[in-house]
Symmetry: C2
Subunit: 203 residues, 2 copies
């Protein structure tokens, strides 16, 4: 199957294509793409070939059709409903970031165990009590769970998200979760971004 690292490259390709679209470009050569992607044409041609994109000898790629193809593969032609657990500092920022407008990612419910947070508006939703998590997932048929609770609550909250039927979880808590094989689970760790900066700082 396709590895997450390949998928992340597809996201980067799409961002480049979007910038090129904004600049009004219709065709782009492999060299120009390679410069934007930060990847050699040898490598990305392989990735794009898997999506059925061969490019045209001597011309390159059609910007709009490549962008549309990438967008489709990244599931961005559909709406993905998300629930978030833990409306603290991080959770509030994340909920508001995705909580308005009509991109493919829609925040449909936020829950928290702190009574002080109930009723607080975050984007298009208001914080509901923690006990309503399961019914919120069933009612909205949310497919993605966002886990922004403290470390000590992470595993039990994850288990409940899985049992309530989400298909993927994005975990922000600094714990190695015991993962369900049925639920695609990823960790977010800002440290990876900082390590990238540190790599270049020490060269």
């Amino acid at each position: 199957d396709v590895s997450p690292l390949t998928v992340n490259r597809l996201s980067i390709y799409l961002r480049c294509l979007r910038m090129l679209q904004e600049q009004g470009l219709r065709q782009v050569s492999s060299q120009e793409l390679g410069r934007c992607f930060g990847i050699s044409p040898a490598l990305f041609r392989k990735d794009l070939a898997h999506l059925g994109e061969m490019g045209i000898r001597g011309v390159g790629y059609d910007v709009d059709s490549l962008a549309a193809n990438l967008s489709r593969h990244l599931g961005l032609e559909r709406t993905h409903r998300m629930v978030l657990v833990g409306a603290g500092n991080l959770g509030s920022a994340v909920a508001r970031y995705f909580g308005t407008g009509d991109g493919p990612f829609r925040m449909v419910a936020v829950v928290d165990s702190d009574p002080e947070k109930i009723g607080r508006p975050l984007g298009d939703v208001t914080v509901r009590p923690r006990e309503e998590l399961r019914q919120a997932i069933e009612k909205t048929r949310a497919t993605i769970g966002l886990l922004t609770v403290p470390a000590e609550a992470a595993q039990s909250t994850y288990d409940e998200l899985v049992e309530a039927g989400v298909l993927s979880v994005l975990n922000f808590a600094p714990v190695h979760l015991r993962r369900s094989a049925a639920v695609h689970t990823r960790n977010v760790d800002l440290r990876i971004h900082l390590e990238e900066l540190a790599f270049y700082l020490v060269r």
Copy 2:
């Protein structure tokens, strides 16, 4: 030079090596590493060879020395002092996440333009007024700036961080910054993580 995508793979390799160290493993084969990394041995052997790591025919790699080598290349043997601008929801979560303990990344100053936030403790620092940004950077010799202000304030804040002498900036605001060539600048966008989940959801 080394592309950020290569550097991000190094971060992933190090996380795997740390897990193997916790399991008490001393040697690991290319196959086992490939499974952990989610990358074919053909690809990661190339990455590791650039770091002078050749592996031992028939044996694989020495876990401790490989981890130490990766850690050194990722700059984690040094302390990197960071300043954060914008102690809102996201900024507070980030400041506290890095604001305690003694990892390689140390939060040394946080500033905000909102008088209500001044004096608020976040990890080992308290929020200072926005006007103190430059002197905070000079006094602490911070090398990394974290930008967690609203989109409309992002460019001017970035310009000021650059002028005050930081060497890298991690930008969380959803804007394409006009970047300084002298400052290594990266954007963080959670959407990339969600696109990864969406890719697998629509397959």
